[in-house]
């Protein structure tokens, strides 16, 4: 058990410290790197409580894809300077109430969920459906997601799809005069239409561009 608690405290301290550093560090790219460190230590904690599937999915989805895109955007947009201007400017106090409201909301939500789970375990019937069947947690997750909760699962997938299509539609613009290559056209070119053999008289040459 000692080894277990050593690992637990190591990962949780790293998680908490890096979460603080995400908001505290001046450089936005550093914030994203701390966010990644946070994700990784959280997924280690997941693995420690035996939820290895969730831990790996956390690594693949959040660290492997979402955070890469975060980094991408932060590097490309050079947000670092913008952030500094916000905090240096006098109207920065406008952002503080909004942030406070949102963080209070999240805090209250977490309190409600954890309190309910701690003192009224019967409102969460997931405990009953998993049971101690001796299945690996990939199997038991699949058995719950694709049977009892199939509609919710499908609906959340649809919402993500709609969001994705919406983002593409909003940013897509058709520009005139862009040169595009048609692969079919390129591949189906024959020798007859590509090359022309001309008889050229000496000292006359040939005009190409008419």
């Amino acid at each position: 058990m000692i080894a277990h608690s050593i690992f637990f405290y190591t990962f949780s301290i790293i998680a908490v410290v890096s979460a603080i550093m995400v908001t505290a560090s001046k450089n936005t790219v550093h914030s994203v790197f701390f966010l990644i460190l946070d994700f990784i230590s959280i997924s280690c904690l997941f693995i420690m409580i035996g939820a290895e599937f969730l831990g790996m999915i956390m690594l693949i989805v959040y660290v492997g894809a979402v955070a890469v895109l975060f980094l991408f955007v932060v590097m490309m947009l050079n947000v670092a300077q913008q952030k500094n201007q916000w905090f240096a400017a006098k109207d920065s106090s406008k952002h503080i109430p909004v942030g406070l409201i949102i963080s209070t909301l999240i805090f209250v939500e977490i309190i409600i969920v954890i309190g309910g789970w701690k003192y009224k375990p019967e409102i969460f019937d997931i405990n009953n459906s998993i049971g101690q069947t001796g299945l690996s947690n990939t199997h038991s997750l699949g058995q719950i997601l694709y049977t009892d909760y199939i509609h919710i699962f499908q609906i959340s997938g649809m919402i993500l799809l709609v969001a994705m299509i919406g983002a593409i539609v909003l940013t897509f613009r058709q520009r005139a005069g862009v040169k595009k290559q048609s692969y079919i056209k390129q591949i189906s070119r024959e020798r007859a239409e590509g090359v022309e053999v001309l008889e050229i008289e000496t000292n006359k040459g040939v005009r190409i561009d008419d």
Partner: protein
């Protein structure tokens, strides 16, 4: 004391795995250069040692004694961290590769997800290196590589789903054992081809080596690196290539299984079969490098998103329907 003996035993096992991997990475670089040279009617490295076998060791020695230059305008911590991250990620993935029914360092339930996660983390070494260098070419290389690796991971993920449908388990040993009657390369051949091409893109090999396209970007994300840090990038890259070959061998070529379960083949241990399969795939990697010209960037993106992703998704539907219709789904 009990803990200590467990720790020492594990360290011994890890060293027993890592040292051969590192040596074979050095050998594989030599093999790569030799194959490349033979395709182009050259000799390749053939001076140091028999057949030039020790060329990589000589190169490594050279890198160790070279000066490490850290650009003054770079972000020093991340600049130094980047090659370390690349190297570490390339090596930790070997923990779950099974070399035999029991010869595996960590026989975890979600082995294939672990491999996939580690290979998707590999992009960070490149992004960190490119960003921390604080110069144009590395930055462009890092951006290109991030987009490319994220795109091709999607199709690799879908291909893995295809294999998992036929296995019914995420454990790598179960995946190998499920291929006892037939290697998955036979029923899922189109997926094997797509996996191979996606693996080329995932490891930034030609024809998808745009992140380090020397004609446009000098050396991409590793332009500012020198000495030992450059060597670590280089080792990490080749270890990743070997890892992708091992993943292909396990998913499609039956891992440590021998091709036929009859007398002369069963004498050879499974580890040798796995190594032979990895070498076969690596030989293909090296051939492709020599014979194929580099893709243009928009063609690369088109291939990933508009060809591979829809095709492998359709194949998932086909596999699932086939298994469901003939009642072959591995349910337990």
């Amino acid at each position: 004391m009990e803990y200590l003996s467990i720790v020492f035993e594990e360290i011994y096992k890890i060293l027993f795995l890592l040292v051969p991997v590192l040596v074979s990475v050095a050998m594989i670089v030599w093999l790569d250069r030799r194959v490349w040279a033979f395709v182009q009617k050259r000799q390749g490295p053939n001076v140091v040692g028999p057949f030039g076998l020790l060329q990589s060791l000589a190169d490594a020695l050279k890198y160790i004694f070279k000066e490490m230059i850290i650009p003054s305008s770079s972000n020093k911590v991340i600049f130094i961290l980047a090659p370390i991250v690349t190297m570490t990620l390339a090596l930790i993935a070997w923990a779950v590769i099974p070399f035999g029914a029991t010869k595996v360092l960590a026989d975890i339930n979600v082995g294939i997800l672990y491999l996939f996660a580690v290979s998707s983390l590999g992009v960070y070494g490149i992004i960190m290196g490119g960003w921390a260098s604080n110069s144009k070419y590395p930055f462009l290389g890092a951006i290109r590589s991030a987009a490319q690796m994220v795109s091709y991971e999607v199709s690799i993920g879908v291909i893995i789903i295809n294999v998992l449908l036929c296995v019914g388990s995420l454990n790598l040993n179960d995946i190998v054992i499920a291929q006892q009657s037939m290697w998955f390369v036979v029923p899922l051949f189109p997926m094997f081809v797509i996996f191979f091409i996606s693996a080329l893109a995932e490891t930034n090999r030609p024809p998808f080596d745009l992140p380090e396209a020397e004609a446009e970007l000098v050396a991409g994300y590793q332009t500012e690196y020198s000495g030992m840090m450059y060597a670590m990038f280089w080792l990490g890259e080749y270890a990743n290539i070997l890892l992708m070959c091992a993943m292909g061998a396990i998913l499609f070529l039956g891992g440590w299984l021998s091709p036929l379960e009859i007398f002369p083949f069963t004498l050879i241990p499974g580890a040798i079969w796995l190594i032979l399969k990895i070498l076969l795939l690596f030989f293909l990697f090296a051939l492709v490098k020599a014979i194929v010209p580099r893709y243009r960037y928009d063609q690369l993106m088109r291939l990933g998103w508009k060809v591979f992703l829809p095709f492998s998704l359709i194949w998932v539907v086909l596999t699932a329907s086939y298994l469901f219709y003939f009642n072959l789904l591995p349910v337990n």
